[in-house]
């Protein structure tokens, strides 16, 4: 019996240890925020996500694509159909070929994907000194501790330490592994003026854009967690019944 308990406890701890076993190299302490979307009851703050979209649209989309989102998806964070049509129509989208075989530009429709700032990766690198601004659709899932990583990175463009030499075209970032990043500081206080009147500090913009990016990476999150609660509750109740049934049936065994 003692062995059993010891083993079970050990397996749980060891299993968890292995599951989260990652080698970190230099340990960077990221900024930490209690995100409203984390935990089993997490939700996407619609207001914050809309502000985050504004940050993405006005600042980030100059260099960063988001090809796995379409304009019609914006209804999930609270934009109306008309607002979406207006946003989409503000972009020129490539379409075609037409009857003479040529590609042409037309205003965006709600079914179009977010347009990319560059035609392909090579064009993106050429315009950014060889560095590729990654597509942001999945960035939250593509980095360990994604939300806090992005949150820290955006606020991490501090003064470089005096004893450090930067490579050509590199910028110092306190939270980027290696501390040299090709991206110049994207956010400063008051850089954009939020349409809902919120004060646009760097921290506020970073927080809002993380919530937006979280939605972009996992649009199914709220439905998933809601369904999860129902499934686990059902299983727990059914489990109780099966346990009682098992005990009843096994009473007969002598």
């Amino acid at each position: 019996m003692k062995i059993r308990i010891f083993l079970i406890a050990f397996f749980i701890v060891a299993g968890a240890g292995i599951a989260y076993a990652h080698d970190h190299g230099e340990k960077i302490e990221w900024l930490y925020k209690k995100w409203p979307f984390s935990g089993i009851f997490g939700t996407v703050d619609r207001q914050a996500a809309q502000r985050g979209y504004q940050v993405y649209k006005e600042v980030c989309s100059t260099c960063h694509a988001m090809k796995y989102r379409s304009f019609r998806n914006l209804s999930e964070i609270g934009f109306s159909e008309d607002e979406i049509k207006t946003i989409a129509a503000g972009y020129q989208v490539k379409d075609g070929p037409d009857d003479s075989g040529q590609m042409f530009d037309r205003p965006g429709k709600s079914s179009d994907k977010f347009p990319s700032p560059f035609a392909n990766e090579k064009a993106a690198r050429a315009a950014n000194g060889g560095a590729y601004p990654p597509d942001l659709s999945l960035i939250i899932k593509a980095r360990e501790n994604g939300p806090n990583y992005v949150y820290s990175l955006l606020q991490g463009f501090t003064e470089k330490p005096t004893d450090m030499t930067m490579g050509t075209g590199m910028n110092y970032n306190k939270y980027f592994p290696g501390h040299q990043i090709a991206m110049p500081k994207p956010l400063s206080d008051g850089q954009i003026s939020y349409s809902d009147g919120t004060v646009a500090t760097t921290e506020q913009m970073s927080s809002d854009v993380v919530i937006f990016l979280q939605w972009a990476a996992e649009p199914e999150m709220e439905r998933r967690k809601k369904m999860g609660l129902k499934v686990l509750l059902f299983l727990a109740v059914t489990g109780v019944f099966f346990y009682l049934a098992k005990k009843r049936i096994w009473k007969k065994v002598d």
Binding site: A14, I18, D23, I40, R143, R224, K246, I249, W250, V253
Partner: protein, 407 residues
């Protein structure tokens, strides 16, 4: 010549007279005499069976939306996650399901190791199990390549490159596996084809596994074979209900992960599209391969490392002849018990080490753990067979059961 059977009444009787599936199901799942003292460790087999079915079903539905081409694979998976109705659920069930399948099978194997389930007359049962394990690993390895993320690509590159270690023919084997000069579209396409095929081979092996099991019946925690009818109870309703309760507990863990923590066992790098020009900082296989990865990296010579890695699994085939002790169960083998537990911990330690950077203390520890791993099979077990004095085992299962459940 079969004795003349009597056709029983009704549709079931009509079918059964011509194709005895009902008689078979009755003897297999209903009447099958099972030792009455099995613990929940014996439920792992049926849970593994359920996971195989679930993986096949989710896999078939995922394959309706997946495109196995390097330019479309990653996008098709994102399409499943974002646009296909419940696509995210199918994908997460399949990915988490693979991990849970291995958790269950590892517990199942550990049970076999501790209670001597590999000993006669169950040697072939055990060996078919090892074949199932190997096929599962091949299936999982190829499946992980399909999303075509960074880890998919680089994991495939590293592991297929291992075959170049073989002298003379190594390079040709690798080119043949790749269908080209690096992991690329031909590789992805064939991995998709084989990933779809192999699970059905696993189903066939599982059937053989079950036939072998039913020939001599299940082992039990005392390791004492069934002697009289008093030792057994019919599979139904006792083990059907017990296994079903086991399913529910398992599903609670499984679905907690699917709905609330689906990416915790995965690698974030796999959410970046495969890029043959950029190698990720830490190439790590999925957790269930980590112990073998540690063994591979611990050996300084490439060919020796590959041989030890495969050897660490192939050695399981010989277990019934390495451990010839008459007493089956670790409960009654006072020294074996601790060496066996140490072996299990050693494998877990190897798993942890497999995820670390291959430098400094981690290398030394990997080698020590590898030494114990092989030492357990090649030295400890044979020696224990000869020199260990076991404790007296119970006279029968029913006696032991009555003692433990005295009213």
């Amino acid at each position: 010549m079969k004795e003349h059977k009597i056709q029983k009444p009704g549709i079931i009787g009509w079918i059964d007279y011509r194709l005895p599936i009902f008689t078979f199901a009755d003897s297999f799942l209903n009447k099958y005499p099972t030792p009455k003292n099995l613990s929940y460790l014996w439920s792992m087999g049926s849970i593994a069976g359920i996971m195989l079915v679930l993986q096949i079903i989710t896999g078939v539905f995922l394959a309706m939306h997946y495109t196995p081409h390097v330019d479309y694979a990653f996008d098709s998976v994102e399409n499943i996650m974002r646009d296909v109705n419940y696509g995210w659920l199918l994908r997460y069930m399949h990915a988490v399901g693979a991990s849970m399948f291995f958790v269950v099978v590892y517990i199942h194997i550990a049970r076999g190791l501790y209670y001597g389930s590999y000993k006669g007359p169950r040697e072939l049962l055990w060996q078919i199990g090892v074949v199932i394990f190997l096929t599962m690993m091949a299936t999982a390895f190829m499946g992980y390549v399909l999303p075509w993320g960074q880890m998919s690509f680089w994991g495939a590159t590293v592991i297929t490159n291992l075959f170049s270690a073989f002298p003379v023919v190594g390079k040709y084997i690798v080119t043949w596996l790749w269908g080209g000069f690096s992991v690329d579209n031909p590789t992805l396409n064939r991995f998709f084809s084989l990933h779809y095929l192999l699970p059905f081979l696993i189903v066939a092996f599982v059937m053989l596994h079950l036939i072998a099991l039913h020939e001599h019946g299940s082992n039990n925690p005392t390791g004492v074979e069934v002697k009289t009818k008093k030792d057994t109870i019919p599979f139904h309703p006792y083990y059907t209900i017990k296994d079903m309760f086991g399913f529910i507990v398992f599903f609670l863990i499984y679905f907690y992960m699917v709905f609330f923590s689906p990416n915790s066992l995965g690698d974030p790098d796999n959410y970046i599209v495969a890029n043959p020009l950029v190698t990720p900082a830490h190439i790590v296989p999925e957790w269930y391969f980590l112990p073998f990865y540690a063994i591979l990296r611990g050996i300084p010579n490439k060919l020796a490392g590959v041989c030890c890695m495969f050897g660490s699994i192939l050695i399981l085939f010989f277990l019934p002849w390495l451990d010839k002790a008459k007493t089956k169960s670790g409960t009654y083998r006072p020294y074996f018990k601790w060496f066996c537990l140490l072996f299990i911990l050693d494998t877990i330690a190897l798993g942890y080490l497999g995820a670390q950077e291959p430098q400094g203390i981690y290398v030394i520890l990997s080698r020590l753990c590898t030494l114990y791993y092989f030492g357990y099979f090649l030295a400890i077990l044979p020696l224990l067979s000869r020199f260990e004095t076991p404790l007296p085992a119970p006279n029968s299962i029913s006696e032991d059961y009555a003692k433990k459940h005295c009213q």
